[in-house]
C-alpha cells in the first residue's frame, strides 16, 4: 500500500470510530492511531547479535461525557474489541467526576499533514538490511582497532517509521509520517577490575545525515579512554562545566519543572513563579515544535493543537509554562501545543547558545570539574534539588588534568540557572531537548 493510501485508510478508520462513539453517547471523542515500522540491529565483536523487524499498530481514544473523561487503547484492531472498548469507556466516564476543565481543544492546527517540516525520509524504507549491517559492523570495527579498547557493548542501528493519525469530534482530522534513525556504539577500556565505559550516538530523521561510522567510532573511543584510571577527589565546592549532553539532561529536568501539569498540581518549585527571575541573563530557553527536520518537530500535538515557538525563559525570567489544553484551562493560560498523550512534553526544547567555544570555557577555569555523564535518579521537581552520581574530568589551570569517578554532584536547579557563568557556542541537536556547553559557578562535588 502506498504511503498516501495507508494514511487515508487510517484517517477513515479514525473518523468512523469518532462517529461510532458519538452515536454511542459520547459528547466528545478523540481517536489517535499510530502505525510504526521498526528495524533494529545489534552487532557485537564483528557479528550480528540480534535483528528485529516488525510493524505494529495501536489505537488510543478519549471520550468525554458530561465533562467526565475516560481513556482506552488497543493493539487489537478487531471491530468487536474496538467497539466494546468505546462502549466501556462511555460507561466508565459516568463513574468519574465532573471536571469543568475536561474537554477537547477549541482551535486546531492548520497544518494537518506535516508539510514543510522535513519529518520523513522516504529513503529509509528502501535501504537494504545488508547496508545497515555493514554500517554497524564498520563502526565497531574502527573502534576495536584502537588497542586501548578492551571490550564492546556493540554497535546498534535503528530505524523507525511512524505514522500518526488524529481525528476528533470537533472535525479535526490530521496525519503525518516521520522517520528516525540512529547509529550508536558502546565501549569499554581497561582491565576487568578497572574498567571505564562510555558511548556515542548519532540520531537523525534522514539516514544520509547520520554521522559516518568513523566519526561515531572515534568519538566513542575518545570518550571511553579519557575516563581510564580515574582518581577520587576530596569533597569540595567547585565550578562545574556541563558538556552539551549534560546540559541536555539539566534542561530535561527544567522541562519537567515548567510542565503546566506539574504546575497546577503544585508538584514543581516553579509553580507560582511566572514572570519572576529564576535564572541569570545568560539563560534563554525556547520550546519550538516547528523547526524543520529537528527531532522534536511535529505539526500538531497529540490533541491536534498547532505546535509553535514558546519562550520559556527570557534572559532568566520565567515567561511561559508548557501547557496542553487541560493544564492551560487549569492555569487560565493557552495551550502551547505541548500535549503529549495524557500529559505535557517538550517539543524542541533548547538553551540558546552563547559565543564561547568549549575550549575557551575550560581555559577560563582555574580548578573545576567537567561533567561528562551522570547516573542514577536524584531529581526532585518539588524542590529543584539535584543529586546524582557523576563521571568527569578534573580541570587544573585551564586544562584537563585527569578523569574523576565515584563522585556525586549536588545542587539546586534554580541556583544553577542563576549561577551560569558561561554558555558555549556548541549546541548539540542529537536530542530534542538540548543545549551547548555551560559552566556553573559552583556545585558541591562529593568524593572522599
Amino acid at each position: 500500500m502506498t504511503k498516501k493510501a495507508r494514511e487515508k485508510e487510517l484517517e477513515k478508520l479514525a473518523e468512523r470510530f469518532v462517529t461510532f462513539a458519538r452515536k454511542s453517547g459520547a459528547d466528545e471523542v478523540e481517536i489517535t492511531i499510530s502505525d510504526d515500522r521498526e528495524f533494529s540491529l545489534d552487532v557485537r565483536l564483528g557479528k550480528i547479535e540480534s535483528l528485529v523487524e516488525a510493524g505494529s499498530r495501536a489505537l488510543a481514544l478519549k471520550v468525554i461525557k458530561g465533562k467526565k473523561t475516560a481513556f482506552a487503547a488497543s493493539s487489537d484492531f478487531s471491530q468487536e474489541t474496538l467497539k466494546r472498548l468505546i462502549k466501556n469507556a462511555i460507561a466508565r466516564a459516568e463513574l468519574a467526576n465532573e471536571d469543568v476543565c475536561a474537554g477537547l481543544p477549541l482551535a486546531f492546527s492548520e497544518n494537518t499533514n506535516g508539510a514543510a517540516l522535513d519529518l520523513f525520509d522516504p529513503e529509509i524504507r528502501e535501504i537494504e538490511p545488508d547496508k545497515k549491517i555493514a554500517l554497524a559492523l564498520e563502526t565497531e570495527r574502527i573502534a576495536l582497532e584502537d588497542k586501548r579498547i578492551t571490550n564492546s557493548h556493540g554497535a546498534s542501528l535503528v530505524t523507525n517509521e511512524i505514522l500518526t493519525v488524529l481525528a476528533n469530534s470537533r472535525g479535526f482530522v490530521g496525519s503525518y509520517e516521520q522517520t528516525f534513525c540512529s547509529l550508536s556504539l558502546g565501549l569499554q577500556a581497561g582491565k576487568t577490575d578497572n574498567k571505564a565505559e562510555d558511548y556515542w550516538f548519532s540520531t537523525e530523521r534522514f539516514f544520509e545525515k547520520l554521522e559516518p561510522p568513523e566519526s561515531v567510532a572515534r568519538k566513542a573511543v575518545e570518550r571511553t579512554v579519557r575516563l581510564l584510571n580515574p582518581r577520587k577527589i576530596k569533597t569540595q565546592a567547585v565550578p562545574v562545566i556541563f558538556e552539551p549532553q549534560m546540559t541536555a539532561w539539566l534542561l530535561g529536568f527544567l522541562s519537567a519543572c515548567v510542565s503546566g501539569m506539574a504546575v497546577y498540581q503544585k508538584a514543581t518549585f516553579l509553580a507560582g513563579r511566572l514572570g519572576t527571575r529564576i535564572g541569570n541573563k545568560k539563560m534563554t530557553v525556547i520550546d519550538n515544535g516547528l523547526i524543520p527536520g529537528r527531532l522534536g518537530t511535529r505539526p500538531f500535538d497529540t490533541e491536534g493543537v498547532a505546535c509553535r515557538k514558546t519562550t520559556v525563559l527570557d534572559k532568566g525570567i520565567l515567561r511561559h509554562y508548557l501547557c496542553n489544553t487541560y493544564a492551560g484551562r487549569k492555569l487560565k493560560l493557552p495551550s502551547t501545543g505541548n500535549a503529549d498523550g495524557a500529559g505535557v512534553g517538550p517539543n524542541n526544547f533548547y538553551l540558546v547558545p552563547g559565543s564561547l567555544s568549549p575550549q575557551e570555557i575550560i581555559a577560563s577555569t582555574e580548578r573545576g570539574l567537567i561533567l561528562t555523564r551522570t547516573i542514577g535518579h536524584g531529581l526532585n521537581p518539588a524542590t529543584g534539588d539535584i543529586s546524582r552520581g557523576a563521571f568527569g574530568l578534573w580541570v587544573e589551570k585551564g586544562e584537563v588534568a585527569y578523569p574523576v569517578a565515584e563522585v556525586t554532584v549536588s545542587g539546586n536547579l534554580e541556583n544553577i540557572l542563576r549561577n551560569i557563568e558561561a554558555v558555549g557556542n556548541d549546541p548539540d541537536f542529537r536530542t530534542a531537548v538540548c543545549g551547548p556547553t555551560i559552566k556553573v559557578a559552583e556545585l558541591v562535588v562529593a568524593g572522599e
Binding site: 521498526e38 557479528k47 547479535e49 540480534s50 535483528l51 528485529v52 523487524e53 516488525a54 510493524g55 505494529s56 495501536a58 473523561t69 475516560a70 481513556f71 482506552a72 487503547a73 488497543s74 493493539s75 487489537d76 472498548l85 466501556n88 469507556a89 466516564a93 468519574a96 467526576n97 471536571d99 538490511p129 571490550n151 569499554q188 576487568t192 577490575d193 574498567k195 571505564a196 565505559e197 569533597t235 498540581q265 503544585k266 508538584a267 518549585f269 547516573i375 542514577g376 535518579h377 536524584g378 526532585n380 518539588a382 524542590t383 534539588d385 543529586s387 546524582r388 552520581g389 569517578a405 565515584e406 563522585v407 556525586t408 554532584v409 549536588s410 558541591v444 562529593a446 568524593g447 572522599e448
Partner: protein, 471 residues
C-alpha cells in the same frame, strides 16, 4: 466478559507450521511468544476521580536463534499470514538448509501457585476499584493540614502468555498484577516536599483488606512528605552507611544483581565474568533471587521463555555461585537454566532479568548495628539507582536520617550514594536478622525493557561509602 485463558486462539497445527517457517532457513531454535494483556487504571486528584482507562494489548513475536545470533519479528495482527511473515523475518538471520520436524508439544508442568488470588482484579468492578483509590486519597489528605495535594491511582492488569518452542514445549501462564499508589505534597512556609507510598503485587482485592489497607498507604505517603519538611541537608563525603531493612534492597538490585545477569558475564563486560566461584564480598553476605515467592510483584510461574523458575543463590558467604540465566546465555555458557528469561512484552527479545532479589538474613541485632555508628547515614527509602558494567553504581536516597552517637536523629534531604560494587560487598560489616521487602511497586529497566521486580534486605552496615549531600 471473556474468561481469561481464552484470548490467544492458535491451534497446535498452526503453531507447528509457524515454527517450521521460522526454521525454514536453518537455525537452532525457534519460539513463539503470544500475549494478551488487559490493563485498567483509575486516577484521583484534586478530590475527584479524574479519569479511568482500559487498554488491550495483543501481539505475538517469533524468535529464531542460530548459534549466538537472534532474529525477531512481531505483529499485533494475529492472522496466520502476518504471523508467518514475522516468522520469516526472524528466520532471515540464518542462511542454511531448513530444519525439519518440530517435535510434538509437551505441556510445561508448573509447580506451586505464585498467584494465590481469591478475588481477581480483572473481575472486580470499577466502583470497587474507585472505592480503594478514594480511601487511600482521603486518608492521606486528612493526615495533616500541611498536605496540599494528593494523587492516588490504581493500576491492574492480567497478562495471558502462550509460549511454544521448537524444543517441543508449550507453556501458558496467566499473571495478575496490581499496584495502588499514593503521592502527597506537603507544604510548610516555602518548603514543599513529595511523599510516596504504595502496595500490591500478584494479588487480588483481598490483599487491600488483609495485608495492606489503602488507608495505610495514604497515611504513609503523607508521613513521608511531612518528615521531609523537617529534613536537613545531607552531609557530603565518606562515612558509614546503615541501610534500613526492606527498601534498601534496591542497593542489592543495582550494585550486585544486574552484574550477575548472565548476558553481561557471557560478554565479559561485567566485573563478575571471571569471578564465578571466587570470593568477592564479606563472609556474612549471601544474595538470592527467587521468582517463586507467592504474591510478589516479581514472581511468575514460568518465565517468558516457558522455563519453570527456581530460587537461585547468586552469592553465598561472599562467594559468587551462580548467574541469572536465560536460554541463550545458558546454552552459550554451558550452564543450567534458572528461569530468569524475561521480556517487557511481545515486542521484545527475552533477556536475563532479576525477579525478587534480596540479601539473606544475618545474625546481628538491628539496634546493635545502629549503636555501632558514631556519625553516619541511615538510608530508609530510595528513588532508584543505576549501575554500570564496570561495577560503579549510584542510588538515590529519597528519605533517610542522620546517625549521631549511635542514635538515629534528624531526617535528611535527598542524597546520592555512590560506590563500586565489589568494594561495597567487602565493606558490609554487619547484617541484621530482620529481612524484609520493599514496596510492591518497583519496576526495573534494562535495555529499554521494563519488568516488575521486588527487592529486599535486612538492616545492613556498610563501613564507608561516599554520600553526595550539600554540606
Amino acid at each position: 466478559m471473556t474468561a481469561f485463558g481464552d484470548h490467544i486462539k492458535l491451534a497446535a497445527t498452526d503453531l507447528m507450521k509457524i515454527l517450521e517457517a521460522a526454521l525454514s532457513r536453518g537455525g537452532d531454535f525457534a519460539e513463539i511468544y503470544a500475549e494478551h494483556r488487559q490493563f485498567s487504571f483509575v486516577n484521583m486528584e484534586e478530590d475527584i476521580i479524574k479519569e479511568t482507562a482500559e487498554t488491550i494489548s495483543l501481539g505475538l513475536g517469533v524468535r529464531v536463534v542460530c548459534e549466538d545470533i537472534t532474529g525477531y519479528g512481531y505483529t499485533n495482527d494475529l492472522s496466520l499470514d502476518k504471523i508467518r511473515r514475522a516468522a520469516l523475518t526472524a528466520a532471515a538471520i540464518a542462511s542454511g538448509k531448513g530444519t525439519q520436524g518440530v517435535p510434538r508439544f509437551a505441556r510445561v508442568r508448573i509447580k506451586g501457585d505464585p498467584y494465590p488470588v481469591k478475588e481477581p482484579f480483572h473481575e472486580t468492578n470499577l466502583s470497587q476499584k474507585i472505592a480503594l483509590v478514594k480511601k487511600a486519597y482521603l486518608a492521606c489528605q486528612k493526615s495533616s493540614q500541611k498536605i496540599k495535594k494528593v494523587k492516588a491511582g490504581l493500576q491492574d492488569h492480567v497478562r495471558e502468555v502462550l509460549i511454544v518452542n521448537s524444543a517441543g514445549f508449550i507453556a501458558r501462564d496467566i499473571r495478575p498484577q496490581v499496584r495502588l499508589i499514593c503521592a502527597a505534597i506537603a507544604e510548610k512556609g516555602k518548603r514543599r516536599e513529595i511523599g510516596f507510598c504504595g502496595g500490591g503485587g500478584r494479588v487480588g482485592l483481598e490483599y487491600f483488606r488483609d495485608v495492606l489497607t489503602p488507608e495505610r498507604i495514604g497515611k504513609e505517603a503523607a508521613e513521608d512528605a511531612l518528615t521531609l519538611l523537617e529534613a536537613v541537608e545531607a552531609p557530603a563525603g565518606e562515612m558509614p552507611v546503615v541501610l534500613a531493612p526492606g527498601h534498601s534492597g534496591v542497593l542489592v538490585h543495582e550494585a550486585v544483581g544486574h552484574l550477575l545477569e548472565a548476558d553481561f558475564n557471557r560478554k565479559k563486560t561485567s566485573i563478575f565474568w571471571n569471578k564465578l566461584g571466587k570470593k568477592v564480598g564479606s563472609e556474612i553476605v549471601s544474595i538470592a533471587d527467587d521468582p517463586t515467592i507467592p504474591c510478589f510483584r516479581g514472581s511468575y510461574a514460568v518465565d517468558d521463555e516457558g522455563t519453570v523458575p527456581r530460587r537461585t543463590l547468586l552469592i553465598t558467604k561472599g562467594r559468587v555461585v551462580s548467574f541469572l540465566q536465560d536460554r541463550l546465555s545458558a546454552k552459550l555458557m554451558g550452564r543450567p537454566l534458572t528461569g530468569h528469561g524475561r521480556r517487557q512484552d511481545y515486542t521484545c527479545i527475552p533477556i536475563p532479568r532479576m525477579s525478587n532479589t534480596y540479601i539473606e538474613r544475618g545474625e546481628d541485632d538491628p539496634s546493635d548495628i545502629i549503636r555501632s555508628v558514631s556519625k553516619g547515614i541511615y538510608a530508609e527509602k530510595f528513588e532508584g539507582g543505576q549501575v554500570e558494567d564496570s561495577g560503579k553504581f549510584t542510588f538515590s536516597i529519597s528519605s533517610g536520617r542522620l546517625i549521631e552517637a549511635g542514635r538515629v536523629t534528624a531526617p535528611i534531604k535527598q542524597a546520592t550514594l555512590i560506590g563500586t560494587n565489589v568494594d561495597i560487598l567487602q565493606k558490609i560489616v554487619m547484617v541484621g536478622s530482620d529481612l524484609s521487602f520493599g514496596l510492591q511497586t518497583g519496576t526495573c529497566s534494562k535495555e529499554g525493557q521494563e519488568v516488575p521486580v521486588t527487592d529486599g534486605c535486612p538492616t545492613i552496615k556498610i563501613s564507608r561509602m561516599t554520600v553526595g549531600g550539600k554540606r
